[in-house]
Amino acid sequence: MKNRLHILRAERRWSQAKLAEELGVSRQTINAIETEKYDPSLPLAFKLARLFEQSIEEIFEYEEKTTDKMTG
């Protein structure tokens, strides 16, 4: 899932470690979300949205997969 996490983090001049600490997760998790290798759970997405004072849709962009279209 595309996201603006690295931009929001850079705006605040936070390191991945700082953001990880704020959210109570590991740096690996922040890195995996930023590199779009891992989609966070809904509670973690809400935590991120509240921390950056934005809506979830402003941070994450959901891309529908071909299989979703076929089954949906």
């Binding site: 470690a17 990880a20 600490e21 109570g24 997760v25 590991s26 740096r27 690996q28 998790t29 995996a32 290798k37 891992y38 966070p40 759970s41 973690l44």
Partner: protein
Amino acid sequence: MKSINSVEKAGRNYGIQMGITMGVVYPIFLFSAIAIIKRNPEAWWVPLLALIPMIPILFGLGAILRFFDRMDELQRRIQLTALAIAAGGVSIVTMTYGFLEWLADFPQLDIGWTFPILCIFWVGGLFFAQRKYA
């Protein structure tokens, strides 16, 4: 020095606890039990002493459960993927050798091998699952 948060600290503590428990305490308990039992093979307490190595294994299990409770969602996913790989690997190895024992007269293996095989597949599974998110 890099600062680490509570999730990473839990991972480090788990590594230390498992290292000491399985790398130091378990071999001491195991080889002590073997040495004592060899000198007193007929004693009534041999079955009790044979179970002594289970004490550090139970501590290790406790450390695993505490670590699972403290890890974050990505770490939990990685561990569960590794466990699924480990369960699949152990099933394939034990079933394969089971058929060889049963139908092809291969020598019987000790059931105690199951846990080390599980650990090998778990480590391999962790390596595989970590790569996906690195």
